[in-house]
Amino acid sequence: MTSHKKTTRDKQNFTRRQFIKSTAAGAAAIYWIPSLALGADAPGNDMKSRVVSVRHARMINPNERINAGIARQSIDEALLLLTKKKNMKEAWLQIFPNLKEQDTIGLKVNCVNRKCPTHPEIAYGIADSMIDSLAMDPNNIIIWDRTSSELKKSGYTINESDKGIRCFGTVDRFSLGRWLINRKQDESDGIGYDRSRPIDVGNGKTSHLSKILTRMCTYLVNVPVLKDHGKAGITLSLKNHYGTIDNPMDCHPNHCDPFTAKINAASQIKDKTRLIICDAAYGIYKGGPLGSPQWKHNSILASTDPVALDYTGMQIINAKRKQNDLDLVTDMAVHVKSAQTLGLGTCNPGNIQVKESILI
């Protein structure tokens, strides 16, 4: 199984110039995606939601594992492009302007599919980037998902200690017996869900959020995977929070709408989420969210707007489906528009600025 390898931490606050030098051939080609070519940094573009895509042809090693060093370089490049800052410290401080020493940042990964999870090399790459750039205490970072069991199977090392980057699930594992009786997950052996603060998820239903989010994290970085979804069309940043609530099964009818948007509109998610970094090293365009990866996209997507990122990710999945004579998922992904309606971001392509960087 994959085990993460930490990149060196001696490049604290390195500059953009140093970063480009550090890439394999010392060159990065940056260009605007033609359909959205509005002119680099043209007046008014700051009003648009920015989505960046950083691609590196060698993000995946010949052994089909993620190259941790290149993943880290791609994450840093994505942050620099997204924030338009010159060094990593400034970039992270733009994402977390009021960060205090005691604040905890959660990375919500997606390990529901162990064959195509948020790869540990990418999650730990984000964590290491924050630690290196902001001199954060590693213990103030929590990599989390719904179960510790799924995290472990996806290559993460469970760490609940007071040293190092923490990593654990809301519950330890699923218990079928308990679920059949209570229609709730077994919380007896984990942090559990916050029963004191139910959230309205639409159609008269309520959910409870993971206590990792509500009680332990000051801020959240959402780290989804590039996958299609049999009911919701896509499962990217918005749908990733089905791993945050206690009753995801109740929220699948009607293409997961209005549930997905309403979950993301909950103040604990909306207000705490500062960044989305999508693991698009591999992708699944058919039969998702489960199954093995179906193509190598070799990319990292980043944005502060979950709706714009999901819209952009959907275009990537649609392009693969079109190539393979499959129907587009746009009509199924109604939650993206619902999220826009609730003011969570934009899925209007005219209001999205996509910037792509190819590292060589």
Binding site: E64, K115, K153, R173, L176, W179, H229, P248, S292
Partner: protein
């Protein structure tokens, strides 16, 4: 009167639980035996899905499609040995025709057909470092995956697939 009500609740409870237990034991007996003797440790008890909700617990958003294709029950069990995971999924549909439909649904250009396994079978070297074997037999669609690419991993996954196939033949003679 109160005692009668309690007795009724207990009796109804048995009516609900007994068929579920029967479903579980019937599906579980298809699973390969002696895995522990070979050093494989089951991560948990086999998970039996009996409807879309419970299927969604394991295969998430893909569950509705499986139900559309005629899947009625499924059993999942994962084994671990030295951080290599072997995942078994057995889907029981309502007919051999539907089992074939599920099998066809997941066809891939990168799969290789296999001989002498189930009614029809294939082997896939998957992206991300795993092997997968699938086949259909009788009203069952079976999928096995192992998170390692090696000759030994190939042997293990095919040996398990054969053991399941033999159990289906033994317990579900047409």
């Amino acid at each position: 009167m109160k005692c009668l009500k309690i007795a009724c609740v207990i009796f109804l409870g048995f009516l609900v639980v007994l068929p579920l237990s029967a479903n579980q034991s019937q599906l579980e007996r298809i699973l390969p035996r002696g895995m522990e003797d070979q050093g494989w440790k089951a991560e948990d008890e086999p998970f039996i899905a009996i409807d879309e909700d419970s299927l969604s617990m394991i295969i998430n958003g893909a569950a509705p499609r499986y139900m559309e294709l005629g899947v009625r029950k499924a059993v999942f069990v994962n084994y671990e040995k030295k951080l290599v995971y072997l995942m078994l999924e057995i889907y029981e549909t309502d007919s051999a025709k539907n089992a074939k439909m599920v099998f066809k649904e997941f066809e891939s250009d990168i799969s290789m057909p296999l001989d002498n396994l189930g009614t029809e079978s294939r082997f896939t070297s998957e992206m991300g470092g795993s092997y997968m074997t699938e086949y259909f037999q009788d009203r069952f669609y079976v999928r096995l995956s192992i998170t390692q690419k090696s000759e030994e991993a190939k042997k293990i996954i095919l040996r398990c697939a054969k053991a399941i196939s033999e159990n289906i033949a033994l317990y579900y003679k047409q």
